[in-house]
Amino acid sequence: MWSLPNDTAECDRGPESLMTNQTHFHLKTFLTIAVMIIAGPLGNVLLGKGMKQIGRFPVWPPSQLIQAGVGIFRSGLIWLGIASLITFFVAYMLALSWADYSFVQPASSLAYGVVALLGYWMLGEQISPLRWAGIAVICLGVLVVSRTTPRTTGHG
């Protein structure tokens, strides 16, 4: 489905160390991507649960907006959600530091499916067949978008 990551630095070493290095490299990449695919959606689900507890976000008057803002930062679930999103971001940056963008980004398209599954299991959300279909098409679309080369400016 995805093109294999290629690490040009590996080519300088002997064939045996290349094999172990590549196995290690694949394991490291897949583990990091697994963390990304779980931590990102989990963060969103936790934020959703926290916000449902706080209730509808008032936009007006400003005094209520400030009160709601304070409520947000007092919620443990919101902080857990933010921590989970930071974990996602760190895993994403780490993955990008050694694997190709064109490998990491398509893999992360699965997150849209995972967020729906977690919403269904953890929050008991009702998901219509049409919504599942839409989510599947979105995953496919994101996969196609991110498979295309990210470097279009022609230097580097």
């Binding site: 916000m51 919403g119 959300e125 919504r131 979105i138």
Partner: protein
């Protein structure tokens, strides 16, 4: 809890119209401010020397020089706005509805990078963007 649950037909239709308006405003903020923020940060980072290593001192140097670019501040402000709009959307709508709709940022990103960053967007990427748009439409239709 939100008002308008008294069971009166007028209240119900008002509530429906208000929800629809809220949907449009919040998702526009999430997608436009989020993508705009990323574009601004991307523009700022192009003006900064790239990091030569991941040593804390080098990373610190890059962050400090990025903070001197006004585009960075605009970008961070827009991304913060998008985050609070996401929280507001999550306070009203289901996660399995909100997050897939935010995939519209791929559509905004393709248009934004073509228009503001003058990057070339190839046909395959436009096809993916079209698929995302179709998927989001299905998610919206499935929410009725």
């Amino acid at each position: 809890m939100p008002g308008g649950l008294s069971g009166q037909p007028d209240d119900a239709s008002n509530d429906g119209a208000r929800l629809a308006l809220e949907q449009v405003i919040l998702f526009t903020l999430i997608v436009v401010a989020g993508t705009g923020g990323e574009l601004c940060v991307s523009r700022a980072m192009k003006a900064v020397d790239s990091a030569k290593s991941f040593r804390p001192r080098e990373v610190g140097r890059v962050i400090l020089s990025a903070l001197r670019v006004p585009w960075m501040w605009l970008g961070v402000g827009m991304m913060a706005t998008a985050f609070f709009a996401l929280l507001a959307a999550l306070s009203v709508f289901n996660v399995s509805f909100v997050v897939p709709v935010t995939a519209l940022s791929y559509v905004a990103g393709a248009f934004g990078s073509a228009v503001f960053l003058h990057e070339r967007v190839n046909k395959e990427r436009w096809l993916g963007v079209l698929l995302v748009a179709v998927g989001v439409t299905l998610v919206f239709l499935g929410n009725r």
